[in-house]
């Protein structure tokens, strides 16, 4: 089992390294900078209001047992 995990880990690391190294040689971006006008619209921001989203994330972490995985840091202890 451990050998399988190690082999898988090596494969993942190799895949990441390949992607990163190939990135240095220049992958052509398929969405050109001048085609990103819609993505630059404020309504497309992934976190429009950090002060608000941080607060509501805290409410969830205080009321539920899960934590993290929602972008950047996260966490909680499951207290009330």
């Amino acid at each position: 089992m451990n050998m399988k995990i190690n082999a898988f880990s090596r494969f993942v690391l190799l895949a990441i390294a390949t992607v990163v190294v190939s990135g240095c040689s220049g992958i052509e971006p398929w969405v050109k900078p001048y085609e990103r006008d819609r993505l630059a619209d404020p309504i497309m921001a992934l976190d429009t209001d950090p002060v608000s989203s941080s607060y509501i994330q805290h409410v969830y972490e205080a009321r539920e047992g899960a934590r993290g995985g929602e972008g950047a840091a996260g966490g909680g202890c499951g207290c009330n």
Partner: protein
């Protein structure tokens, strides 16, 4: 102390959020003044949050946050095993982003102080733009140092250390679609239970049929969470966002969380609506009632560790009162924002002991809460 751990780590998200999605560009200079109110389950929490971000020079941006929770609690836990209380927590956060080429390095510090809880957290993250700025890779690390006390015992002092490791990938997929994938591992070691909480166990000698004893948690916890989020620009000017998160930890809690939100601008207004659903299993040491005193090595009755489902429906409106073309003095843009969330939590193994029902016939507890946020934002 009941809220400190969460707010510290979520504020780290606040400090890092902007840079996560926009490595290669420093976050915009802005200030936010927010008032929040949570009212539900006998608990009322309100207070301000002030966030100020300012760029200094060409490559450095500083951010500071001041946050206060004023808590008045007569929750189901409090009224069944303790007395209603009020308390206040004050939290300060400072952060800095440094941009060099396509790389953004961020450091942050957060301090949360309460009468019986002191938490300090240090964060570090690196974001790298790649592939013609279509891809942003973020690596983050946070170290937390908590000191847990008891208001009724000045000698009581316990420590908890927490480490967080995060990897995030944000990817432009098409000219209308952007997605982000986040993986996060968090490990805790130390005093993890609430010093005020109790579990109940069957006790034939008691008039109620049960008695209470202090809860006892494991001293370690490691969790893994993976979240996927995608946002799509609709054929007309509006956005649709979907999110899913899978969570699992060494306490045997496993959860699925999904949400869908819609954003619709209309002149100077931006309206939004969101629905969120969360479902989780319970911790392996959680019981609504134990068969006897000290029945298991570890024991807890925190309702957040019970199997549960929660749903949230949120609506929000934002009005831009300072136009970003004309501006107003040094202010480029200003908005006022209002949101309301209705949160409902159904606990599958947590009985409502506030009723006079006899042992074994207590109804399951249901939490309904109203959450309001009002905030002003200016960009300069």
């Amino acid at each position: 102390m009941k809220y400190s751990r969460e707010i510290v780590v979520t504020t780290l998200a606040l400090l890092a959020a902007v840079s996560t999605a926009q490595a290669g560009v420093l976050p915009e200079d802005r200030a936010d003044v927010l008032y929040h109110l949570y009212d539900g389950g006998g608990v009322e929490i309100d207070g301000p949050s002030v966030l100020v971000r300012k760029q200094v020079g060409k490559s450095t941006s500083f951010v500071a946050n001041y946050y206060v929770d004023m808590i008045s609690s007569a929750s189901i836990d409090v009224i069944t095993t303790a007395s209603p209380y009020t308390e206040e927590r004050t939290q300060y956060s400072l952060g800095m982003d440094y941009l060099r080429g396509n790389t953004t390095m961020s450091v942050g510090y957060t301090s949360s102080v309460e009468s019986d809880f002191d938490a300090k957290t240090y964060t570090f993250s690196v974001s790298q733009d790649m592939f013609g700025d279509m891809t942003t890779l973020t690596l983050s690390y946070a170290l937390g140092d908590d000191l847990v006390g008891r208001s009724d015992d000045p000698v009581f002092e316990r420590e908890n250390d927490r480490q967080q490791y995060g990897v995030g990938l944000t990817q432009i997929l098409t000219r209308n679609l952007i997605a982000t994938l986040n993986f996060e591992t968090i490990t805790d070691e130390g005093f993890l239970n609430n010093p005020y909480r109790s579990v109940r166990y069957v006790d034939a000698g008691s008039a109620l049929g049960y008695s209470y004893e202090p809860e006892l948690y494991p001293n370690t916890r490691t969790s893994n969470a993976v979240g996927l989020r995608a946002k799509y620009y609709l054929p007309y000017r509006a956005a649709l966002e979907g999110e899913y998160r899978f969570f699992t930890d060494t306490w045997d809690i496993e959860s699925h969380t999904a949400s869908l939100s819609y954003t619709h601008p209309m002149g100077p207004w931006i309206f939004s609506a969101k629905f969120r659903y969360h479902d989780q299993t319970g911790a392996h040491f959680y019981r609504d009632i134990f068969s006897r005193s000290e029945a298991t090595n570890f024991r807890g009755r925190d309702k957040e560790l019970s199997p549960l489902t929660s749903t949230t429906f949120k609506i929000g409106a934002s009005y831009q009162f300072i136009d970003d073309v004309e501006g107003w003095g040094f202010i480029k843009k200003g908005t006022v924002n209002l949101s309301y969330s209705a949160l409902a939590v159904d606990y599958e193994e947590f009985s409502d002991l506030s009723t006079s029902a006899v042992l074994g016939e207590e109804p399951l507890y249901v939490l309904d809460a109203n959450i309001f946020q009002v905030f002003f934002s200016i960009w300069y």
